[in-house]
Amino acid sequence: MNDAFGRPDSVLVLGGTSDIARALLRTLVADGSRRVVLAGRNPEALAEAATETKEAGAEFVASVAFNATDVDQAGAVVDSCFSAVGRVDLVVVAVGLLYDDEADGRNPDRVARCITVNFTWPAAALSRVAEHLREQGSGRIVVLSSVAGVRVRRANFLYGSAKAGLDAFARTLHQTLAGSGASVTVVRPGFVRSKMTEGRKAAPMSTTPEAVARDIIRGLQNGAEVVWSPPPLRLVFSVLRQLPESVWRRLPM
């Protein structure tokens, strides 16, 4: 169960090898979360994350491999994760891949794949997760969105538009779950220095996976529906969102 401070006993991570997810798990497990299910694409990376989670103090860790391009399988993957651990108190959706917009944006297959991995699969999985939590009568969902989806910019438009879709989906899912005991928290990190962004030039107000994890944990305690990381991004984007298109597209980013 989640305790009075919003700390979960059991955690399921879809996209369990992401740097943010791993940083979050290290903190949660050190603070008393006991049972963890990791689901991810790469079996070796999964095994590594599982070992790390055990070493941090988890009593039970299970791994489930899946491919986020197999949209048909999303529901089945979620089912097998739930049956591995029983009641799940916190579900973290950290599935996602960055694409190279210069080259990929002109290739229909890659466009489709980017939208599938970053939006379609996570949304399909979320709908099944929500069913499980409704039945449990409790549970929290954390969805990793991105400021890239808050207002999509040219330099990042594939990933950004997929995240925009996921962000809207997750925010609305939260409304449909009102009164069910389940709730959704959407996390909007800025530029995170992690393996996903390796080799890219850091944007202003960049952050680290550990800092994002801390902001998420504070959000869970406060029952926040949206978590910005770092928190001042909320103010920055409240301005950026209002800019006229003619100004927005001239911004050097």
């Binding site: 169960m1 009075a4 401070f5 603070d31 009568g137 005991g181 029952g223």
Partner: protein, 453 residues
């Protein structure tokens, strides 16, 4: 959505409120047959602070319609009541004939079933023990049938139910032995103490002289006034103690609670500034004085003055941390206040009291020594870690945390605080072999392990 009084960690469940004990029995016996077994637990008035009376995804059986009160036996004071009867209703039913609660917690807004399940204590614990020491029998609906139990009749099941947080069955009826009183008034003396040592010494002296005693500690005060507080000690007043105008009608019932919070949840009104101001004002308004006459309600149930004061803590809610440690480890009282100060989370309200001997209930909270109850707003980021450290220190010296107040204890600490747990689990295997009786608290503390795969 159901939550406890602290308004943390709500969860959803089906809720039913049967009017007959037989229906409760049927529900509990049939629960094991439900196709998707998600558990069942009783709920009285929802005054447990944490997650004791909620059962996510399962069935919550409210007892509010089990509200009959038989006449009080004029010789023994024994009264048979439904589990959903509030202590408020019981006081009103008994007081006119000169009967009062044997044990009175800080509010009258708890049900008799809840008082049994939490084995509640009051300001007279040092003399009279806890609530279940004054219960002569219980009617308990369990998955394997309905039992009538008492201290001499299946004592294992009776004592496992005392403080068992509803995990041994649903209490539908209890026989409570009331206490004879001549008036509805108390003779109270109040002492101001300038620091914690003086306050604790005062409490020890008061216990020897008075039937009831309690101290309030000002947690906002620092420096030399650290731990200053007020000590209230009292005894039931006799007719001769009353001022003449009260003597004609010495058994007047408590006034109804009229004040309520506004319907919209206000932002967090309890914050360090208001806490400091409130504590200062309370300390100053109560100079030391002896032998005042105060009504039972004001002495026992000051919190009942405002109906839903828990809303003062805002959206995130609050936790209460109440622990008890033996006499030898009284320094933990000071240490706990220092630790909470250290993380910037001083308690908004702190109540200190000494307990007398324990009863045989394996999960009953009181053991001899010092108990401190701290109200803490959820918010300061380091609060959770500080309470985990306190858990360790309390468990280390054989102390424990009160489950009725708890929403955040962890299974390992819980097991070391309650060495009698195997007795409760043995009773559960006997009356609930399928593990149907579950609550969010039971799951969190791994008492209901059967809920796991």
């Amino acid at each position: 959505m159901l939550s406890g009084w602290g308004r943390t960690a709500p969860s959803a469940a089906s809720v039913t409120a049967p009017g007959l004990p037989e229906v409760v029995s049927l529900l509990v016996e049939r629960a094991a047959l439900a196709p998707r077994r998600q558990g069942l637990v009783a709920r009285g008035m929802g005054r447990s602070y944490g997650d004791a009376a909620q059962c996510a995804g399962g069935l919550v059986v409210e007892t509010k319609h089990l509200d009959h009160i038989d006449p009080v036996d004029p010789d023994t004071g024994a009264v048979r009541v439904g589990a959903g009867v509030s202590l408020d209703a019981l006081v009103r039913a008994g007081l006119a004939a000169g009967w009062f609660l044997p044990v009175s917690p800080g509010t009258r807004q708890v049900s008799v079933g809840g008082a049994v399940a939490a084995d509640v204590h009051g300001k007279n614990h040092h003399r009279d023990g806890s609530f279940c020491s004054h219960v002569s029998s219980l009617r308990l609906a369990t998955p394997t049938g309905t039992h009538v139990v008492g201290p001499d009749d299946d004592p294992e099941l009776f004592w496992a139910t005392a403080g068992g947080m509803g995990l041994t069955g649903v209490v539908t009826e209890a026989v409570v032995r009331m206490r004879r009183v001549e008036t509805a008034w108390m003779r109270v003396s109040t002492e101001q103490h300038r620091d914690l040592d003086s306050l604790m010494a005062g409490l020890e002296r008061a216990d020897a002289r008075h039937g009831y005693s309690v101290a309030w500690v000002d947690c906002a005060a620092r420096g030399s006034g650290f731990g200053r507080g007020l000590l209230d000690a009292g005894d039931h007043a006799e007719v001769d103690d009353l001022p003449p105008r009260r003597r004609a009608n010495p058994l007047v019932p408590p006034r109804r609670t009229r004040l309520r919070m506004p319907p919209l949840v206000p932002p967090r009104i309890v914050n360090p500034l208001t806490v400091a101001a409130f504590n200062e004002a309370w300390f100053r308004k109560s100079p030391s004085r002896d032998g005042q006459v105060r009504h039972l309600a004001g002495f026992f149930h000051p919190l009942d003055a405002v109906a839903d004061w828990n809303l003062l803590y805002g959206r995130r809610g609050f936790v209460q941390y109440q622990f008890v440690v033996g006499d030898k480890h009284r320094d933990l009282v000071r240490r706990s206040l220092e630790i909470l100060h250290g993380v910037g989370a001083p308690s908004s309200l702190a109540v200190l009291k000494r307990f007398g001997p324990a009863n045989p209930g394996p999960l009953s909270f009181p053991i001899p020594g010092w108990t401190l109850a701290l109200d803490l707003a959820v918010g300061p980021p380091e609060l959770r870690g500080a309470l985990r450290r306190l858990d360790e220190m309390v468990a280390e010296v054989g102390g424990r945390v009160y489950l009725a107040k708890d929403g955040r204890l962890e299974p390992r600490a819980f097991r070391s605080m309650y060495p009698g747990l195997p007795e409760l689990l043995a009773v559960r295997r006997r009356v609930d072999p399928d593990g149907v009786l579950q609550s969010d608290l039971g799951r969190r503390l791994q008492i209901c392990e059967d809920a796991q795969p």
